[in-house]
Symmetry: C2
Subunit: 298 residues, 2 copies
C-alpha cells in the first residue's frame, strides 16, 4: 500500500465510523473528545459523574453525554474508546456488549495490557473487534477539566494487537493515533508493551514516590534544586489508578525494580570500597546513553 | 543590625574588597566572574587552560587572566573564590598561600564540605579566613563557554561556617550570595550541609545514572516520555567531578542510598503480596509532600 492509498484508506475508515463513544471522561477521555470533535467526529460520552458530563457539554468537548449506560447511545456508536480503570473494563463489556451494533471497533487507553487484552478478546462478541492501544500521555492532574489535546503532540501512541486482531483493525487504530496528533506511533505485543511500560513509566513512578517518602526531614525541602524537582515531579500521583496499574503488571515491574536496586547497590558498594573507576565507568555509560536519547527525541 | 545598617555594611565590605580572584574558570567560576564584573568588581582569574582564559577575556567575563599561578595576581586579590575540584584545593593552598595579602577572605564552590573545610582551615595562615560556601546551581554542560549568571536566580546558596569562622566572614559570604543573585541563602554546618546534599543532589544523581544503566534494551529509548526524560536529565554527568564528590561524602551518600533502597523494596514487597493499600498509602504520602514542596518553591 503506497502512501496515497494508505491516506485514502485512512479517511474512508474514519469517515465511515463517525459516531465515537468515549466511556469514562477523565483527563485522557476528555482530551480524546476534544481532538475528535475538532476533527469533525460526533463524540458521545458516558461518565457516572454529572458535573463531568455538564462541563464537557458546556465546553464543547463532546456532542452528547449521559451519566447512565444508555442503550440508544451504545447502539449509535461506530467506535468505542474505553477510558476507565482496567478492572472496570471486563465487567462493563460483559454487562453491555449486547447493545452494540455489529462490526464496530473498540479500543482503550489502559496503561497495562497483558492483564486486560486477552480477557476482553475472550469474552467479546465475534462480530466486534477489540484492538488495544495506549496513549502515553498525561499530566499530574486528573479529571475532564484538565483536558488538553496538546498533550498528544510530543507523546507516543502504542497499538497493541494480539494474534486475534485483523490487519484492518491495526491500521484503524494506528491511524487513530495519527489523527489524534501523536508524535510517534508504534506497534507492540501486549508482552512487549508491559515490559517496556514497566521500565519507562512504572519504575520511574516507583522511584519518584520512594525518593519522596524515604526521608522524613521536612527542612530539606528548602534546599531542593532542579534535579530533585525533576526526579519528584511525578511523585504527585493518582493512587487509585497507579496502584491498579502497578498490580496489573507486578511481575514485570518487580523485575525492573530488582534490576534497578542491583545497579544502585553497585554504586553503593563502589563507594564503600572507594572505587572511583567503577563510578566513572557507570557515569560514562549513562552519559553516552542519555546523549543518544536526546538525539532520538529531537 | 537593622536592614539599612546591614545594607550599609554589605556595601562597605564589598567596596573594600574589590579585586576578586577566581581560581578555576569552569561553568561556575565563569558565571561568578560574569556576575561580579557586571556588579563593578575587578575580576582576576587563573586557569591552566589557555583557551579558557582567552575566551573569558574576549567575552568580558574577567578583567585579567593567567594560565599560571601569578605571584602578582595573588598579591592583588582582596578575596579569592576557589572553583576547582576538591582534591586540588588543599595542595593549592599549601603551595601558594604565602603570596596572599594579609586579611583577605577565601571562599569556594565545592559540593562537599566536611572532607575539605576543616583541613583547609587547619593549614591556612592565621591572618586569612576561609569561609566555605556552596552555590547549588549548575547545568548538564561544563566549561567557561556555558557561563551564565542567570543560573543563580532560582537557586540556593549555602554558607557553611565552622566554629573557627568570624561573624564578619559569615556576613560577607552571605552577602556574596545576595549580590550574585541567589534566590535562597542559608547557613548550615559542614555536617548538616553534607547530609542535605547527599539526599537532594547526590542521591538523585545516583538514581538517574542507575536508571540509565540498569537496562540494556536500546529500543526502549523510542518509548520514553516526560517522566523518564525528567528522571534521567542529570544522567549526563561530569564523571571526574561527581565521582570525587560522591567519594568525599561516601558515608552520608551510602546511608541515603540504603534508605532509598529499603523504601523501594517496600514497594516491591507490596507488589509481591498484592497489597494495594500499602501502595496507596505511600502514594498519598508522596503526593502530599510533593504538593507542599511545590508551594514552598512558589
Amino acid at each position: 500500500m503506497d502512501k496515497q492509498e494508505r491516506a485514502g484508506k485512512m479517511s474512508m475508515e474514519w469517515i465511515n465510523r463517525k459516531n465515537i463513544l468515549i466511556v469514562g471522561l477523565g483527563l485522557i477521555g476528555g482530551s480524546y473528545g476534544m481532538a475528535l470533535k475538532r476533527l469533525g467526529y460526533r463524540v458521545l460520552a458516558i461518565d457516572t459523574d454529572k458535573d463531568t458530563i455538564d462541563y464537557a457539554m458546556e465546553n464543547g468537548i463532546i456532542d452528547s453525554g449521559s451519566t447512565e449506560v444508555s442503550e440508544e447511545m451504545l447502539g449509535e456508536a461506530d467506535a468505542v474508546i474505553f477510558a476507565l480503570y482496567p478492572h472496570v473494563f471486563v465487567e462493563w463489556i460483559k454487562n453491555y456488549q449486547q447493545y452494540f451494533k455489529s462490526g464496530i471497533r473498540i479500543t482503550d487507553v489502559t496503561g497495562v495490557k497483558t492483564a486486560v487484552v486477552y480477557e476482553i478478546q475472550d469474552i467479546l462478541r465475534d462480530d466486534i473487534e477489540f484492538i488495544a492501544s495506549h496513549p502515553m500521555a498525561g499530566k499530574e492532574t486528573s479529571g475532564v477539566r484538565y483536558s488538553d489535546d496538546r498533550i498528544f503532540r510530543d507523546a507516543n501512541f502504542i497499538v497493541v494487537p494480539t494474534e486475534r486482531n485483523t490487519p484492518e483493525a491495526v491500521e484503524w487504530c494506528y491511524n487513530m493515533g495519527r489523527i489524534l496528533g501523536f508524535r510517534h506511533i508504534s506497534v507492540l505485543s501486549p508482552e512487549e508493551h508491559d515490559k517496556m511500560i514497566g521500565y519507562v513509566s512504572q519504575l520511574t513512578h516507583c522511584i519518584a514516590v520512594s525518593l519522596m517518602t524515604c526521608n522524613d526531614d521536612e527542612n530539606l525541602v528548602h534546599y531542593t534544586g532542579d534535579s530533585f524537582r525533576d526526579l519528584t515531579r511525578i511523585a504527585r500521583i493518582n493512587e487509585v489508578m497507579w496502584s491498579e496499574l502497578f498490580l496489573d503488571n507486578k511481575e514485570e515491574l518487580s523485575g525492573h525494580i530488582e534490576r534497578f536496586i542491583e545497579e544502585l547497590k553497585g554504586i553503593r558498594d563502589a563507594l564503600d570500597r572507594g572505587d572511583a573507576e567503577y563510578l566513572k565507568s557507570k557515569m560514562r555509560l549513562s552519559t553516552e546513553r542519555r546523549a543518544k536519547f536526546d538525539k532520538v527525541r529531537k
